[in-house]
Every structure is written in C-alpha cells, then in structure tokens.
C-alpha cells in the first residue's frame, strides 16, 4: 500500500481520467467501474487498519483520496466508507465488511434497535441514506433501548427508495422491519464524534469541489474571448474570481485544520468539524453563483462539466447537517463555559 499522498492522488487521478463524470440515472446509479478500479488498487480500504481488513495508511491518505474523487465528481461511496462508516465500525468493535464492497453510513434516528437474545433487530425507516441501493452494507446510527447505537447490516436484500440528491447521487430510504443487524452501543461522546465525522467528510468533499470549481472558472476566464480579449482581463471578472479564491482558501484552511484535529484525537474535534461544515457550506453560495456567472450560458447546460460539481456543492452543503444545524451546535459548544467564554473556546476549537 502506497502511503505517499502524492502517489495516492496521482493513482486516483489516473483512474478518474478513464471514468468521465456522468448524470446518474435509475439504470446507472453509480460508477461501479470506478469503484472496482479503486478497489483493485487497494484504495477503498485506505486509513482503515490492516488488522481489521483495511489497507492501512493514515487519515491524510484517506482524505487525499476523498478530495481527489470529490474534485473529479466520482460517483462512488468512498467518503462514507473511508471517513465515516469504516472508522466507526472499527472503533465500535464490529467486523469491518470486505473493503472492496461499498459500505455507507446513515443517521437513522427513526430506526429502533432491539435486542433479542444475543442478536439485534432493526425496525423503522432510515431516510436520506447516501448510496442506498448501491452500497453492499450500511452502518446506521440508530436508537437502542439505552441510547444510540451503531448498527451494521448488509443491504443487498433491502428495498431502497430511488430518491436522489440534486446531483443524482442516491439518497434513498431503507425500510427495516425486524431486520437482523450487528449492533454496538455508543457513548454520547462517540455519537457526537460520529455525527461530526460525517459532517467533516462532507466538508472535505466540499473543499475539494470548491477548489476545482475555482480552477475551472479561472481556466475558462482565461480562454473565453469577448470584446476582443479574454474574460480574465476584465476587472469586473477579476474581482469575482478573487472573491471566489478568498472563499475557497478560507474553506481549505479550516477544513485542513479540522482534519488535523481529527487526526490528533483532539477533544474539541466536534467543534472543529462543525465550524468546517458551516464555513464550507457558506462558501457554496458565493463560489457556485460566481462560477456560473463567469461561465455564462454554457455553464448552465448539461453539455458543460461545471454542473457535475455545482450540483454536488448545492447538495453536500445540506447533507450531514446544514449550516443551520451545525452553526447552532458550534455556538452552543463555544458558549459551554459561560457567556465570557467565547474567545478561549475559539482558540481551543482548532
């Protein structure tokens, strides 16, 4: 297993180059070929311990893979597997499914986990499950008799609704009626970190896609000629691109810091992740709006590649908790030590 991040990124880019982004349809809901290629290269187990069946490597490697796939609009559940469900399953002491089979994650407050003898069953509906109907296994944050639990189950035989997000990525519901699952209880801190980890995974994807949208827009402005010169030569366009760059740089700086906090096991990790998700989500409005504005009408069509990322940006910002949800969590966390505690809390958060 390569641990050098540049090599990892180069490998993923090489695979992506053979798998153009596409608009998912009911017939082709994900990029199975891309997934297989990633799995064959050992990239779907990166950051997960070899002792549990993963490919080893560290968090930074896994993040590099997720970033590269996000910027290439790869339609595969890698962020869920490498950054959320995989680590959660391992941490909870549950057996990690084979890493060449896609594993996804869902927050399922409406699913009750009930013990029966040594086994557990799940009943209820898990909504907005990323890659429902595509993933082979799902880890659900469900409600147990004494608090929240992590439930792991195969999904092959489960009916999934065909709901999708704005980019066509599967976000269906799983209806469970006494379905057996492996279940591990979670502490309140574990639940908080799991939710934050999910938010951070989306923030990492957002950061990468925002960077790519900026790069595409800079490139387009340099190529597109109007009034006898490139768009990039107009001050009005330069101001817009600079504003985009400010947003993108802010998101990258904070998201990287939150990933670092996760890697260090910081106790304030959940606040760092909350802030990263809020900041990344807030940048989407500016960056997507200005990217489309600079691209003009061609960017508003399915013929041009821009929509593959802007539609994901508009979806991901509301997934795993929107800015509304996480800004409240962030503020409450920062004020936990009292009305005068904001500044010390800010300097501790990341």
């Amino acid at each position: 297993m390569a641990t050098d991040q540049d090599l990892v990124i180069e490998t993923v880019r090489g695979l992506l180059a053979k798998h153009e982004p596409f608009d998912p349809t009911p017939e082709r809901r994900w990029d199975e070929g891309l997934w297989s290629a990633l799995a064959e290269n050992g990239l779907t187990g990166v950051g997960l311990p070899e002792s549990a069946g993963g490919s080893g490597g560290d968090l930074a490697d896994a993040v590099a893979i997720v970033r590269t796939l996000a910027s290439g609009a790869g339609a595969v559940p890698v962020a869920e597997q490498l950054l959320v469900a995989g680590p959660a399953v391992v941490a909870a002491g549950l057996p990690l499914p084979p890493v060449d089979e896609p594993l996804t994650f869902g927050i399922a407050d409406g699913v009750a986990a009930s013990p029966s003898g040594d086994a557990w069953t799940l009943t209820g509906t898990a909504t907005d499950v990323a890659w429902a109907g595509v993933a082979a296994h799902v880890a659900l944050l469900a409600t147990g008799p004494e608090g929240e639990v992590l439930a792991l189950l195969p999904t092959a035989d489960l009916p999934a609704s065909g709901a999708v997000n704005l980019a066509g990525e599967p976000r269906g519901s799983l209806t469970l009626e006494g379905v057996p699952a492996l279940v591990a209880p979670l502490t309140a801190a574990q639940v908080r970190e799991l939710r934050a980890g999910f938010a951070l995974a989306r923030a990492v994807q957002l950061a990468a896609a925002l960077e790519q949208v900026l790069a595409w827009t800079v490139q387009y402005a340099g190529e597109r000629q109007q009034f006898g010169r490139a768009l990039a030569k107009f001050q009005a366009i330069q101001m817009e691109l600079a504003e985009m760059a400010g947003e993108v740089t802010a998101v990258t700086a904070l998201t990287d810091a939150a990933v670092q906090a996760l890697g260090h096991g910081d106790e304030n990790f959940s606040l760092a992740a909350a802030a990263a998700k809020v900041r990344a989500g807030a940048a989407v409005e500016v960056v997507a709006r200005l990217a489309h504005q600079v691209h003009g009408a061609i960017g508003f069509t399915q013929e041009h590649k821009l929509h593959h990322l802007t539609k994901r940006l508009w979806s991901w910002r509301d997934e795993a908790g929107s800015e509304l949800v996480w800004s409240r969590v962030l503020a409450q966390g920062l004020l936990a030590e009292g009305p005068d505690g904001l500044w010390p809390a800010l300097t501790r958060a990341v």
Partner: protein
C-alpha cells in the same frame, strides 16, 4: 487542482500557547485593575503609552527580532498569539502597533546599524512609535503617483516637501517612514525613483494637522513637510528602491489578526447577549460568525508559519486582508439581524456601545492598508489572470 493561493498548514506551537496564557492572565489583571476598558478597533484608536510600556516590559514587543536589538528571538507564531489576545480583549495597542508590526521589521531589513541600535530597543520597550507615510491628498490607491519630493542639498542631506495623509497617530509618534520621490517621474517606469526616508517627526518644518474620523476621534493626521532637512544617512535602504521596499513588507502589514479582529469586541458582547437569552436565531448567527473567525485564524496562522519559514507570502496576505476586513464589517449586520439594539456611543449597554463604535469605524476596515479592490487585483495576479 490545488488553489495557488493556499499555503501549507501551520504547525502547532506549544510556545505560542504558553505565551497566550501569560497574555491572557496579564489582560485579566489589567481589566480587573481598571487600567483599560474594552473597545472596538483599538489598534487604530487605543493610544496608551503606559500600556505599551507594560507590554514592552513583558517582552511582547519586538518579539521576533534579534536580541542584540532589544528583540526576543521568538517565532511569528508566538507573536501571532500575543497580538490576537490583545485585539480580542480590545486592549489599547495603537501607540506601538505600527512600530512593532511594520517599522521595526523594515528597519531590521533596511536600516543602518546605527539606526537599528538606537531605535529598535526603544520600540521593543514600548517607548518609540512610528507612522507610515505613504498616502497623499492626491494619491490613494495609486500610490506610485505620490508627489512628496526629496532633493539632496549640497551637504548631502535631503530636503523634503509635500504632505502625507491618514498617518495614524502621527501626533503621538516619534518617527515616520516616508515614501518620497527622489527622482522625477520616469514615464516608462513609474515605480522607479522613489525612496524611503526615516524622518524624525520633531524636525523643523513638519506640521501635524488632525483629521477627525466619523466618531470624532483624532487618530488620522495630515503631516506637512516644508523644506524639512533630513540628514542624508536617514535614507532607508537604497535610493530609488522605495517601491520595492514598501511592497516587500506587505506580508507583515496585511496578514495579521488585526485584519479580522477589529470588531471582535462587538462579537464578544453579542455572544454574552446570546448566552443570556438563548435565542436560537442568535445562536445560529454566532455560530456562523465563529466559523468565519476560525477559518480566518487558520489563514492568518498559515502566513505566520510561512514568515517563520523565511517566506514573504504577499499574495496570500492580500487574500487574508480581503476576506478578513469583509468579515469585520459583516459582524455588524449579522448582529443587527438578530438583536434589536440602538447603536449609541454613550449607552450604558456595552452592546449598544460596541455596535456604535464598530459602525462608525466600519468604512475604514476595507480601505486602510490597501483597498479591497486593490487587494483583489493582487489576488487576481496570484491566480494568473493579469
């Protein structure tokens, strides 16, 4: 594709966290003793030489400079922690701010040995203050159009004529580092022919006239030079190299926490209000503002780390200032959207006071040190657009 303006993440610094704690304890003691009260934008308006001297005594000025010049040979990351704590507390740091941030490093780079030995230790003690003499009545964003002129006399001294404006706190400062024309305008290279002079503000022929800002405060001045004789050895750096010298120092000027914390005292009052009321909309607004502060801290820390590596990241610094000063102004509107409060400079309500101070200082945030339009032009260059 990675963004060309993104710098490497800052490493964690235990030394910075240690000195942060010391500064925090000092500020708590001073606040309790009533030696200062919290205000918005105190790096412009909070002149308190006594406070500056206390910081000097504790080794918190000239922190990164060599010990032989009164400095403390600490890292930019440690200096970052000190300055950010002072700003967050709304402490009166204006007297020494420019000297410590900018003029000192400028002298270290370009000053003569004599200038360094005489002046730097005084800055580090919090006793010697500086102004930046760049803008003129007819030269704002177009700095290369300055007209203040210095000509050599027979003795080899400079004779300076002209006027500089927006010189913050010139009336309490000792020196100015003044950008002047030492050669006539070269139409083929308008950045040529300028030089930096180190000028003692007590010299004959210098008149300092107050220019009041919107809240009536006297921070800005017009500094008029009429046949001011400046000794020839007060040339800073090379004659004709002034443009390069002023643009080279911009990473120091544009990347620090003062570019996003000028209205932090308003945000802190807002947080107290939200903590008391528990208003859900207030919590959301506070969370959104906090996420922006946290991102800006990381951006600014990356610049501090780059300075510690010996780099001069001027373009990323311009970006920090653009994003940061936009944020400083946005704090006002975010607060107003969720709290019903009348801004008033003499209100007993600290939130009303902070809001009033922030509002009346707000137009300056996105002007001083390079307007945001100029900054975005620099960023556009960094993106390869021009």
């Amino acid at each position: 594709m990675s963004n060309p303006l993104t710098l490497a993440p800052a490493p964690r610094s235990e030394a910075a966290e240690r000195v942060r704690g010391e500064v925090r304890d000092f500020l708590a003691e001073e606040l309790a003793a009533g030696t200062f009260s919290t205000h918005v934008d105190t790096w412009l308006s909070g002149v308190d030489p006594e406070f500056s001297r206390k910081l000097g005594e504790r080794g918190w000025l000239g922190m990164t400079w060599p010990k032989q010049y009164g400095g403390h040979e600490r890292t930019a990351m440690e200096r970052y922690a000190v300055t950010e704590e002072l700003l967050a507390a709304g402490a009166p740091v204006a007297a020494h701010w420019i000297a410590d941030r900018q003029s000192g490093p400028n002298l270290l780079q370009y000053g003569t040995e004599k200038q360094r030995q005489e002046i730097l230790p005084r800055i580090a003690r919090g006793e010697c203050y500086f102004v930046i003499g760049m803008s003129e009545p007819d030269s704002g964003s177009d700095l290369a159009s300055i007209r203040t002129k210095a000509t050599r006399n027979e003795a080899g001294d400079f004779v300076v004529n002209g006027a500089k404006v927006w010189t913050s706190n010139a009336h309490v400062s000792h020196y100015g580092i003044v950008l002047v024309r030492t050669s006539p305008v070269d139409t083929t290279n308008r950045h040529a022919g300028m030089s930096q002079l180190l000028i003692d503000l007590s010299l004959p022929g210098i008149t300092i006239n107050p220019i009041r800002i919107l809240d009536g405060g006297h921070h800005f001045n017009e500094v008029v030079f009429e046949d001011v004789v400046v000794p020839g050895d007060m040339l800073l750096g090379e004659e004709g190299n002034g443009w390069h010298q002023v643009t080279a120092e911009l990473a120091f000027e544009r990347s620090g926490p003062e570019r996003f914390l000028s209205t932090y005292p308003l945000m802190a009052e807002f947080a107290r209000r939200v903590a008391a009321s528990g208003d859900p909309a207030g919590l959301v607004a506070l969370g959104r503002l906090s996420a922006r502060v946290l991102a800006l801290r990381q951006m600014s820390l990356r610049i501090a780390a780059a300075l510690d590596r010996g780099e001069l990241p001027n373009i990323p610094a311009a970006l920090v200032k653009d994003v940061g000063t936009t944020f400083e102004a946005d704090v006002i509107e975010e607060v107003r959207r969720v709290v019903d409060v009348l801004p008033s400079l003499d209100s007993p309500d600290p939130l009303a006071r902070a809001l009033a101070e922030a509002q009346l200082h707000q137009p300056g945030f996105t002007l001083r040190g390079g307007t945001n339009e100029i900054l975005r032009g620099i960023v556009a260059r960094g993106l390869g657009l021009r």
